[in-house]
Symmetry: C2
Subunit: 188 residues, 2 copies
DNA sequence: GTCTATAATGTGATAGAC
DNA sequence: GTCTATCACATTATAGAC
């Protein structure tokens, strides 16, 4: 098999498993089995578990940047873009209910482990934070744009944690509805 | 040493370590070292890691029930009691910043591990949920008491996750202030 | 690039002496 | 109740054949 393609398969499998089972709880053997490789061959592509995590986070960062640009194309207004973010807890509802928020759970886990890559995981949060701040600035709230961005981020994390714990879809809908009302008070 | 006292010491140490490092990342050796016991002697008191987790959750449940009764004694009005809950993210600010919410992070971790004790961990959330629902009912909002309780719980989890990730105390203060304003619209 | 074999370590857990 | 010694197993990681 092509080396680059194999590497890509490994990162994809690791990304999914880290999300579904957690980083620490996922072993090399799990990833190797998911890709269909022997454990030995694994080290030809990645020389440590941290190296895989590094690649996974880099992939997620790139994917998030791409998604945010897409949201910008699909929604011309800043309030429409913020609403698109808020609705991610509905769009990804089933995944969040089963596995939590991929950004929040990774950050929480790496922080507890005292992992060196904690800062890079936080960058995933920062991407959303900065993007939301830009939208609130464009909406005419430059003075409190970061505060509002953090508030929307906190909403998403609170909903994700409880959706994961209680598996209650109606709760998610109600919270999104609540957020829509709140957002409308900040529209131009 | 007295057997019951040793057992209590083990549960205390395990409780703290599970919170600070996570359940999976804490080994028998870690707990034994914290208590000052040999690994071998450990199994006289608890015959499996799950048994320790069981005891830790039971202790936390009892502690939470005790705390909620105390809050009821200290705050005569339902709005005062809800506010007391909201302010927990300030009271326990430093711990939450370093280790996250003990309830939220345990629930998230056990859910990802597919651990059998997941349901008992969720009970910790349910204690707060039911208690908050009672307060909102007493406040005259019986029809949407559970929805409001979940909203307040989501607030606490969102703030905890982001406080843990960004270590931003000012953010916590602002969110509490925002919550106080929101609460005031539901007061009698 | 892929494999098997294996090292080195840490883990949960047990046996048996004191 | 506490200890040492040890087992069985999974883990990350390496060496070397193909």
């Amino acid at each position: 098999m092509n080396g680059a393609a194999t590497r890509e398969h490994i990162v994809e499998a690791a990304d999914r498993l880290f999300y579904q089972r957690g980083y620490e709880h996922t072993s090399f053997a799990d990833i190797a089995a998911a890709v269909g490789l022997s454990r030995g061959n694994f080290y030809y592509h990645f020389k440590s578990k941290d190296a895989i995590l590094d690649a996974v986070i880099a992939t997620r960062l790139a994917g998030t940047r791409h998604m945010l640009r897409q949201w910008e194309n699909e929604h011309p207004t800043p309030s429409g873009r913020i609403l698109r973010f808020v609705e991610i807890v509905l769009t990804n509802g089933p995944d969040i209910q089963q596995y939590g928020c991929p950004v929040g759970t990774l950050n929480t886990e790496l922080a507890k482990l005292g992992h060196t890559m904690r800062g890079q995981a936080r960058e995933l949060f920062t991407l959303f934070r900065d993007w939301l701040r830009e939208q609130f600035t464009e909406l005419g709230h430059a003075d409190q744009a970061d505060e509002l961005a953090m508030h929307v981020l906190a909403f998403s994390q609170g909903v994700a944690v409880l959706s994961h714990a209680f598996a209650d879809e109606e709760f998610v809908r109600r919270e999104v509805s609540r957020m829509r009302d709140w957002l409308s008070t900040y529209e131009k």
